[in-house]
Subunit: 164 residues, 2 copies
């Protein structure tokens, strides 16, 4: 079996949690998502899981992913797409989200450390986690932009984006 899935299962075992067939299956699905650089929704993973195990419930998928997130093996990120996304890569990174097609791309995180230092020294805040999300349009969607704009009512889009 593959490497990442084994690590996830080992994390369960390390915490004394039981290695159920559902957890094993989800660990392999998380690994596949990782390999494909995907950020599937919980619902999407549930559908994939049901291909192998038709009776697995959505609730179990939610629970298991929440457990993996608590173990620090994945991240559950809210990217404004309506539902939480499973991010199989727990290392810090930024996300670009295309407003048109919903595509999500990881990107290295280049936050200025001064910001966090200032938060800690000036305000006493301890930063434990960062979410950096860029929203915009990917190349494919921008090339179709003119065609789509015709379909949109005037003023619908022009007013709600923040230009710089």
């Amino acid at each position: 079996m593959a490497v990442l899935a084994e690590e996830l299962i080992a994390a369960f075992r390390r915490k004394g949690m039981k290695i159920t067939p559902q957890r094993q299956l989800l660990c392999t699905l998380v690994e596949k998502a990782h390999d494909q650089h995907e950020h599937p929704t919980v619902e999407a993973l549930h559908l994939r899981a049901m291909e192998e195990m038709p009776t697995i419930s959505l609730k179990t998928v939610y629970s298991t992913l929440a457990e993996l997130a608590e173990l620090g093996m994945i991240r559950l990120v809210a990217l404004g797409t309506g539902s939480v996304r499973v991010d199989p890569n727990p290392a810090p990174h930024a996300h670009f989200v295309c407003r048109s097609c919903g595509r999500i791309i990881d990107h290295p995180l280049d936050l200025d450390d001064d910001t966090e230092s200032a938060l800690e020294s000036d305000l006493g805040f301890v930063v434990e986690e960062r979410d950096v999300i860029y929203r915009g349009r990917c190349a494919a969607c921008r090339s179709q932009e003119t065609g789509e704009a015709v379909l949109l009512k005037e003023g619908d889009v022009s007013g709600n984006s923040q230009h710089r």
Copy 2:
């Protein structure tokens, strides 16, 4: 009437939208939130609005705030606190969110422009909006170490009780 509220109303008028008593009221409430550096939930603003206009519906508040956001006068930000927050300041800035008490603090945004340049040149993405959220613990909550919510000013629900 105060300055910011007038600007918000002017923005409605500029778009040919009608100046209803509900919109006027909400504009003044947004101004107050701005003056207090608050990030109230829609629900919280609805409660405040009902103090002046008991029959105003939550739906109207949602709609009006969505309109103000489309006009670029406010931002509706999802900070992972369970519901959308009204950010009366549309200029780019980062948010610090305390995991314990839910307090939200604005902070200047120090993103490295190289990241966005790389996104645009390497991948063809055009960044239109950024969300930068720091999660952690504020000084008050860290000193308590109980993990429970602390009292917030004004006794409303704009900042607390949004645990997951």
